[in-house]
Structures are given as C-alpha cells and as structure tokens.
Symmetry: C2
Subunit: 691 residues, 2 copies
C-alpha cells in the first residue's frame, strides 16, 4: 500500500512524543510498552533526560531518523504543535491519543478542524484523535495507556478488532485474554478525522495474518463504502459487526406506510444482511463469533452430535439446538448403528448412547477418545458439541489434550463447552492456544455452531450467485418526471413501463365523458390525485362495479364529491395473498426496497424485510424467506401464489428505484396481490424528495 497505512500498522520506527519517566503518566505507560516492540523506538520530551532507558529528545526534529510512526501522548492543545512538526518532517503516520476534540463540542470541533487542515495536502496519515490507538501483538506495538496490571494483552492471533470505541475493545480484549484469546490487531480509530474503518478494512482484508474482522461501530464514516467493502471482503474473510446506537428513533418521515415500517434499525439490518455481514449485539457475542470463525471451518449442514458427561447438559444443549425460541432451529444428528456400537463398547453399561451421548460422570479419557474417534467416521454428523463438566473425579488434564487432538485433527468441526472453575480457566487457555473454540456456557456454545452454519450458508450463496445471469437494469426507463406530485394513474403508468403488473385501466381527465370501456367487469373506480394520499379514508375508492349502469353512477358520484383529480377506472383484481412492497429512503444507506405481508399484518407483527437498491433475484428471494409469514407464499393451506412473479416485481421496483435513486423519498405498492398466475400492484403512491 502506498497510502502510509502500513507505516501505521507495521512501522519500522516509532517515536513516543510526550514520553515520560514518571510512572503512572500516560507518556510513561505508552513508552514502557512501545520499547518492547520489534522496531526502532525514540522518545521525545523537551524536558530532556531519559525514560525507559532511552534518551529524551527535545523534538522530533532532533531524532537520528524520520520515524514511520509518531505516537502523540499529549493533551489536545500540544497535540496540534507536535502533529505540525511531524507533518513537516514527513513522518508517515501519527496516532493522536488526546481527547478534547470534536467529541466535546464547538471549541474541540474547531481544534479538530485545525488538525485536519494541517493534514490536507500532506502524505502523513493520522489515527484518532480521541483514541487508545493500536495494539499489534505480532510486532509488540501497543499505544494503549492502560497499565499492564489493569489490562491483560492478548497474544498474537488471527482476529483483527476495528473499533470506534476504545473502551469496548480493550474491555473485551482484557477479559478474553484471561482465557488466552489472541488477536492480529486492535485498531481504535476514535474521531476518525483521517483514517476510518473502511481504509482499515481494506488493509486487514489483505493482511495474511488476519482471518476475521471483528468490528464495533456507532456510525458509518461512509456507509456505501462500508457495504461495498463488505461485499468484496466477505467471500474471503468473515466480517462481524456490533452496530451500536440501534435504539435511536429513526429520523424518517412517516407519511407512507413503508416509512413507518422502516423504523428503528430494520433498514440497517437489511443492508448488513445483503452485504454478508454477521451482526451481533453484545461485545461478548462479537468476540465469540470472531473466535469460532477464526478457529473452525464453516459447516454446510448442521446436524449436531452432542457429547456430554452429564445428562442435563445434553438435554439443555439439545433444547437450544432444536428449538427456535430461544435456540438455533437446527437438528440433532441421527447416529449410525456402527457409531453407537463403537461408543458403547468403550463406555460403561449405563451410559446413554443415543444423541445426546451421555457418558455419565464416569467419563474417562479412554471413553472420551473412543467416542470422539467414532463420531469422526459418521457421515450423519456435521459438527460435534462437547459439553463437559469438569467436576467428576476421573477427569484429568490429559482429557484436554485428547479433545484438542480431535478438534484439530479430526474430520469434523468441534465446539467445546467446559463447565467449571479453576480447571476450566486453565483448559480455556489451552483450548485457545490450540485454536479450539470453547465457550463456558451451553448457549454460547450452541450459538457458535449457528455462527459456523451461517457462514457456510453465506459462502454457498455467494458461490451459487456466481452462476446467476447478469441482471440488466431493465432496458426501458420510466418516463415519469420526478419532483412533481403525481396521482395513482401516473405512478401506475410508470410502473407499467418498467414491467410491473398493474390492473388494466383507463383514466377520465376532468371534463372527459365516459366512452365505451375496453375493460372487463367487475371494475373499480378511484379518484387519482396527487393531493389525496389516503383515498380509502375519503371514500375515493368504489369497488365491485358490475355493469355500465353502476359504472356511470360511480363516476357521477366521484365527480360530485371531488372537485379535482382524474378518475381511474380499473378492472377489479381477483383474490390472492396481499403484500406490501415499497421503496424508502434511509438517512444512512440511501434507497431501500421493502417487502412485507399486507393488511394489518406487516404493522402488527412488524413482519417486513429490507434490502438496499439494487437487489438481485436472490436478494428478493431472501427477503421473502426472512418474513415470518413466508409460508403463505409456499402453498400454505393450499393457497396458490406466483411467488416468482413477486420476486420479479421486487427486482423491477428495485430497477425503478435505481432510475429515481435521488428522487424518491417513499413509494408504496399497497397492496400487491399475489395471485396464482401473477403478482399485481393494485394501489401505488410516490413521494419525491423534493417537489
């Protein structure tokens, strides 16, 4: 990379500015750590003297070389001067630790702008300000001003932690390090004045020592750029994200139904799914998911063999595996007779050799070895969950090695749930060192299985998608002029242009007389006007018109009640499953396609799914599968529906959205009736961003 990011993350030389000999000072804590690194180290402090055995230079100018990286262990004010000096000298990268910038209000914001101005036009890159900085165990780079007795440092591993919050990341590293969880890097980007999460993702996507990206974000520096990177990285390395701030009320206009259903973080959720991100909600979940993906290959199917030495453990684990709430809705493997015989022959007579396999509190090393060996050969088993209480007398530390042996050298992935205290602490360290995923609660262990299954599913999907035909954005562009308010007739005409089914219709403009009607009864008469958003409430819809006589009355009635507006006369559509489809502008990610069950269901059960424009057929299919009411589209109670036609419609609405990418605020097709032969939009509304 020519952008000096490598100088930040793999420097050859580092200077600590604001270094101090005085214990407890930030500049001392940082220097104490940095001197142990595998790079040349310098220390700067105008007071002179020495610190950590190094001479304290008066200024960065005085160093024998221009260092790759300067760590500024200074308050906000002095940080500016030091940064200026570094930039002038051509230092490649700076870590600005100090808080007191934009996060504190107007004065801090101005200070941060000054720092930004300095950087402009230079080659120097800056991490922060307001950050704990970096921890790269492989080269001993550690800028966290946290004393060793307050924070355990992780060993070198293959997980990169990229975090907007330093405290979250160091808290998790510290508690995970107790059991030996290791990382390739932690980078806290704080106020991300210069370097943001996206650039760091680019780096760790290519870093051969990193297999998993574990991220914490409160907002996105560049949402589109983030999604684009995820799409690029996810086929090669998993991206796990804890996106905080999800409870904040969405700032969206809610004039249309689609808008009100897009509340909270549902659009974010759709965008992340679409980009292949694995989403988590707690910091422990973040590290758990990262760890299992860093240690074990994904699984293609999810038939679980549960091995245990306590009946209760096996039952609770099985509940979580087979149930949905709470649980992962997977399956217990059906063991072959051969497998059962092998296990039974090594076990005590009262062991329960089914699945879960309970070797009882008498479990010893030989039984365990035999059982794990037998499970490797069983084609009906995709993954092994070993839930092991360490209390029984026969269990000794050699058992840990037996488990590690099979987890690393066996043909099946394995998850371990060790239950206990002191021995388990030691066991966890051994498991983590050997890259065996172990979790100290049954639920966390079962969730780890789910993570591997999700990753496997995603990879299969990406694989399959490669064979998908390239989707052109529908040759025909709609001719509707954005900006001007439009009635239902115009919206439907535009939909028809892009190939969306709408009822056959004619329109009567004001003053026009009713002529011969080339439509089949029964008909519907509607007022079509940009001013009337909620027609039904105003009795602007007359259904079930059976003949010419009724039609004339309906038109007269409509004209008598509405002074303006066109009259739309449509063929009445037959029954089917009612859906709502729409487009909605999200303040973060832009235009999203929405789909949900129609009627009151979408709203009552919040049963809707979102994807960002543009979507593929595969995305549309996933959107439907995500709905809890999906069964309705799969022949539920014998109801026939043109599910493919609905997918087609969703993709066309996405095309429609592409044409009006910057113009549409919200669009509702409500309902779309999915009939046995076709999906048809029976009502349609649009709100433009402007106009």
């Amino acid at each position: 990379m020519g952008n000096n990011i490598e100088a930040l993350l793999k420097p050859q030389s580092v200077v600590v500015v604001g270094a101090s000999a005085q214990e407890g000072k930030v500049g001392n804590i940082i220097l104490t750590q940095v001197v142990k690194g595998k790079f040349r180290v310098y220390a700067v402090n105008p007071k002179g003297g020495t610190a950590c055995g190094l001479p304290l230079y008066a200024s960065v100018r005085d160093l024998p070389e221009v260092p790759d990286l300067a760590v500024l262990a200074l308050p906000a004010g002095p940080t500016l001067g030091a940064a200026q000096e570094c930039i002038q000298l051509g230092v490649k990268a700076i870590v600005a630790i100090a808080g007191g910038f934009s996060e504190t209000g107007d004065a801090g914001y101005a200070l941060e702008q000054q720092l930004g101005n300095m950087l402009r036009g230079s080659q120097t890159r800056l991490l922060g300000p307001n950050t704990l900085g970096l921890l790269v165990p492989g080269i001993g780079l550690d800028t966290n001003f946290l004393p060793a007795e307050h924070m355990r440092r992780p060993d070198p591993g293959n997980i990169a932690i990229l975090s907007q919050s330093g405290s979250i990341a160091v808290g998790e590293m510290d508690s995970n390090a107790l059991t030996g969880v290791s990382i390739s890097a932690f980078v806290g980007f704080g106020n991300r004045l210069d370097i943001n999460e996206n650039e760091l993702m680019d780096y760790y996507a290519e870093d051969p020592g990193t297999d998993v990206l574990a991220m914490y974000l409160e907002s996105f520096a560049d949402p589109q750029g983030f999604l684009e990177r995820c799409r690029r990285i996810v086929p090669h390395k998993p991206v796990i994200l804890l996106k905080a701030g999800r409870s904040e009320a969405g700032a969206r206009a809610v004039q249309l139904h689609t808008g009100s259903l897009a509340g909270s973080d549902r659009v974010t959720d759709g965008a992340l799914r679409q980009a292949g991100v694995i989403r988590v909600y707690d910091t422990q979940e973040l590290m758990d998911a990262a760890r299992v993906l860093a240690f074990m290959p994904p699984i293609d199917d999810c038939r679980v063999a549960v091995l245990t030495n306590g009946g209760g453990f096996g039952i609770v684990a099985s509940d979580f595996i087979e149930s949905n709430r709470p649980g992962i809705g997977a399956k217990l493997a059906v063991l072959s007779e051969e497998t059962k015989q092998k296990i039974a022959s090594a076990a005590l007579s009262f062991a329960a050799v089914r699945n879960p396999i309970d070797l009882t509190a008498s479990l010893n090393n030989a039984m365990c070895d035999a059982a794990l060996s037998a499970l490797q050969e069983d084609p009906g088993v995709d993954i092994i969950l070993f839930t092991l209480g360490f209390q029984p007398p026969a269990i000794d530390e050699n058992l840990i090695d037996i488990i590690i042996h099979w987890a690393r050298n066996g043909s099946k992935p394995m998850i371990v749930v060790p239950i206990g205290s002191d021995i388990v602490l030691k066991a966890m360290q051994k498991f983590n060192a050997a890259k065996v995923p172990a979790f100290t609660s049954i639920w966390r262990g079962v969730q780890a299985i789910d993570t591997l299954a999700k990753r496997g599913k995603m990879l299969r999907k990406l694989q399959a998608a490669q064979a998908d035909p390239v989707e052109t954005a529908g040759a025909v562009a709609p001719t509707l002029q954005p900006g001007a308010p439009v009635g239902e007739y115009e919206v439907k005409a535009a939909l028809r242009e892009v190939g969306v089914n709408v009822p056959r219709s004619i329109v009567l403009r004001p003053g026009e007389q009713l002529q011969a009607i080339p439509l089949n009864y029964p008909l519907v008469v509607k007022i079509s006007s940009a001013e009337i958003l909620h027609k039904t409430e105003q009795k602007g819809v007359l259904l079930g018109i059976r003949d010419r006589d009724e039609l004339e009355k309906a038109v007269a009635d409509m004209r008598s009640r509405f002074a303006t507006g066109d009259i739309l006369i449509e063929e009445m559509e037959g029954r089917g499953v009612e859906m709502i489809v729409g487009l909605v502008r999200d303040s973060t990610f832009g235009l999203a396609v929405m789909c949900g069950l129609g009627g009151t269901t979408a709203e009552l059960y919040q049963d809707v799914s979102f994807r960002m424009v543009p979507i593929t057929r595969r995305d549309a299919d996933e959107m439907l599968r995500e709905l809890k009411g999906h069964k309705l589209l799969e022949g539920f109670r014998g109801i026939q529906t043109d599910r493919e036609g609905l997918i087609d419609l969703l993709v066309k609405i996405s095309h429609f959205g592409e044409f009006y990418q910057d113009d549409i605020l919200q669009m509702d097709l409500n309902p779309v009736i999915v009939q046995p032969e076709r999906a048809v939009a029976v009502d349609a509304k649009i709100l433009w961003t402007q106009g």
Copy 2:
C-alpha cells in the same frame, strides 16, 4: 416438620456407609467432606480400620446411636441391603448415591421397586437413588463425590438449588463459586423414588435462610402439585425454573386447530406464567436470575440510569435497555437538572453528563462517588446500571468499596457490569460477598434489571388480585352429555347455557320441514353433524342467505348433498376482529384454555397464549396482552372491539372446561368474532377424551 425431611437437610448425626480410607474412592471423597460438618459423624465399612480419623464400624447397627441421616456411598446392589438395615433401625433419612436403578432399564427398575417396597410403611425418607445428594454449606453437609480440586464449593448464602440433574447443578455451583456466588443448599433428587421437588419446595419455602428457589427439572413428579406450590410460594419467594426437554415433540393429538397450536412447550409456558414462575433457558441464566433476586429488591418501574467509564459501554447498554429484539424494552431515566449538575461538578469537563452518563476513562473514585450519590436523590431513576471497564489507570480497588457502599446503602437498586480480567475476578468475589449483583457481560446485566422488573410486576399483580371479586364457576351447569359425538348445534346450545354468545339459530332435524323462521336475514346454513369436523372444506357452510327463497334453496341443496346430520340455520354475524379460542388437554398439566388471533395469523405467527383451567379475568387479560397482535383489541386503526366481552368469554370457556375437566380432549371456537358490542362464537367443535 414431622416428615423427617429436616433430618435429611439439617441432621444432628450422619453416617457414611461405604466409607473408605482409600483416596479417590467415592466413600473417601464423601467422608472427607462429611467429617467437617457441624454434626456427629460415623463411618461404616465391614473391613474395619479407620478413615479420616474415624473408626470404621462393621454395620450401622454397631453405631453408638441411630443417626439422623445415612449416606450410602455404595454400588446399586449393596445399597439395598444397607437401606434395609437403616430402615429397620429407624434411621430418619437416607441419601442413595448409586446409579444403576430405573434410569438404566428394566433390571434397574426392578431394583428401584424393591427399594421402594422397603420404604413403604416406614418413617425413613430417601433422597435418590442416582444422585449426587446434598450440599448445605451452612452446616457443612456435602455428599457430592467430587474432589475439592475438581469442584469449588459455594459459601453459605440464600439461594436453594433444587435439581433433577446433579451434573447441571454442580457445574453451575463450581463455576459460580469461582466468583463467590453462595447458596443455602443444593439438593439433587435424582430418580426421586421417595422425596421429590415438591416436598423440597415446601421445606425451602419455610426455610428462613432461603430467599430464592432455583430449580432444574426435566419432568414434573406431580405437575399439579408443582403449580399449586408455586402459587403459594411465589408471593413470598421467587421460584426460578429451568425446564429442560422443551424441544421434544408434544405427544398430543392434533385433530383440531387448538391441538396443533399447542405444540412444543407453549402450554407449559402458559402454566408456568400463570403460577408466577420465572422461566429461564440456560444454567447461567438460572444462577444470574437467582442471584439478582437474592441480592436486590424488585423494582416497580424500570427507568434505568446508566453510568459508565466508556462511551461504547453506555451505548450498548442503552440499546439493550430500550430495544426489544434483543433487549428488554424498558426506558432510560430522564435525569433531573439537579442530578446532572451534581455529577458534572465532580466530573471532568469532557464527561458526557446525560443518560448514559459517561465519566470517560478518566473516571476516578471521587467522580464515581459523586455520581452514585447524586443518582440516589433523583426521583426519575428506578435502578442504576454501572458498566465499568477496569482497564483505565485511575481505577483502583477502593472503587469496588465505593460501589458496594452505594449498592447496599443507597436508596436505589444497582446492577454492576465489571469488564476485565484479573481485577474483575477479585471484584466479583467482593461484590458477591457483599450481595451486590454483578455480571460480566452487558447483556447479562441488563437481563438482571429485567428480572427485578418482572418480579416487581408479578408482586404488584398478586397484590392487586387480592382485591379481585371471588369468581364463582358460573351457577349454570351445561347439560351436554360428555362422551357422545356432537354436532355444532349441540355444542353451541351448551355454550349458550354457560353464557357464551353464539348466533341466534334454529335447527332442522332430518325430515323436519322448514317453518316460519324467527331470525333476521342474512342467514347462514350449515350442516351440523358430529361426523363432519371440517365443514367448510366439504361445502357444508352456505353464507349470506338474503331471503326465504335463497334459504329454501340452501336447505334443499344441503339435504341433497348430506345424507345425515342436522341443518343449522343461523343469523350471520357482522364483522369484527377474528380470534380463535379453545380448550386443549395437555398430557402433563391437564386442560388449558387457548386464545389467539384468528384466520391464518395464529398459525403463521404462532401468536397464541395458554393458561390452565380455571382462569381468572386477570389471567384472561394477561393472555390477551401476551399476543403480539394484541393491538388489534386496543383500537388499532380505529377498530372497535368488545375486549371485555372477549375476556368474559374466555372465563366462561374456562368454566365450561371445569365442568368437563376430564372429558374434553379439545375444543375449538373458531372464529370468535369480537365485534364492537360483543364477542360471539361463530363456530364450535368438541372432541371428547372418550366416546
């Protein structure tokens, strides 16, 4: 208690039968522990000699006294002889450790029956067989054959653990003891040949040293007895239950809709809610819920103040507090200006003094003390969540004491989430010793708040229910004869007798002619026959009959197509919200009332709730609130419904169920239409258990 349970749980004298001097033997491990107890201890082994400094008597007969409790550390076979001897001598209680009984098959079952026969007619009580037995820290009674180096023993505390699985309980005690979690007792009842969970609940309900009952069950020894005890105990002490085995497919007949919706463990869930049990799913959850309830009072409202030293911690915690999925759907407290000023005056200028309150990584003892002090005074705060990373340099161990001070002596309950490694292990021990509920993940901390809120809500409900009028079981008994298959007409007649609204109707028996009809059009004509369960599919329902002419045709049509059966002529009911109401027999708990949204919704969204017969109006109200679609009954989109009428109907269906307690297999009222003025059962079916 005169039933010798006290002799088991608080013995004055204990003999270990099968005691051994040989290290590693079960009889040695147990004796090693038992000799430390606060009671007289004897040891029996026919080989003689000494063990743990005690003489080994040849037999229980040879002891200087008849001991209260005999712990049989023997294999299954010898257990019988030893038990016989103890029973003959009048030993008050026995713990039978050995496995190899009914859990292993027919031979073991026969052995267990023999043991049961011995006990019959005696005063001796037996715990087990197939159990780890007991751990009562307060008196040093410990029969678990788990060596000290494999299992940490908890200190004396106020949580009683009653468990069907020994391994689950000791695993949890061991891992919890690492952080100093304490208990009043663990009792594993294994195969519960004699003493079961219900009797133990009775004991610990009265035990002054126990404040919380934490239970693990795979099945119920006496389901009705369990529920009855819960109802009695819950007003005084929380009962928390991990009910395992929930994924097992229900063994219910599914001929009616109600039956198919009662699958998996939804009925269990309804029964447990009704009895006030707090249900959990993981062992960690079990101990977490027990601990917070043992340490802190319940809360009446749930406005949470979040205090932290890391912005990210505060945001993640707030997400869990305010969101529903995942989250607890509670509220962040709005802090008073006074509170904010007090906190700000002690904090650094760049601290964020809103809610969450982020004192930043610069948090020190004085700031923390000031913030906790200020929060005590704020009437808008119900509970404090303190999420604290232990990594920053200014944090020292005195902070733990400050937190303990406010948690114990402040006016607000407090939950602590300490994040870190070595210091946190120590801190957890101090917190637990001081009865301050602390949890090492944010989500667990937030769940603890929810547990206190749920307990508060339950106590308020129980309090309010005391003022409820006594509900009589509806003076009128239905006259329907159970057992014989019945058509819709007869079922509805019976419903009318107990006061359930059904449409006005007449019936035409086979051969009867259509006379003048005292009903208002439009009408519905239905075939009413016990043989035809699914009328609609067989076109046995003709709707919207507008006049006499159409009626005659409909009757003729019906008669031409159905050889047998009555013809039911009903007034057609107006529109409303469609519900399904029913009764279903659960193989464990008996007859349950069911309620859900009608149409396809109940089935698609599994949106149903259950309670055991009989229910109160309050139960019925709760059933409705539990439905995700509950809004539909609360004026959603201006829809008017007689919600009180629906509650009335549910209670009457419960009364109906009481009359036919042993007779009804399943009953469907589908739909019940909840109109603005009344709730009316439009269709009704019954299946009897026999007939």
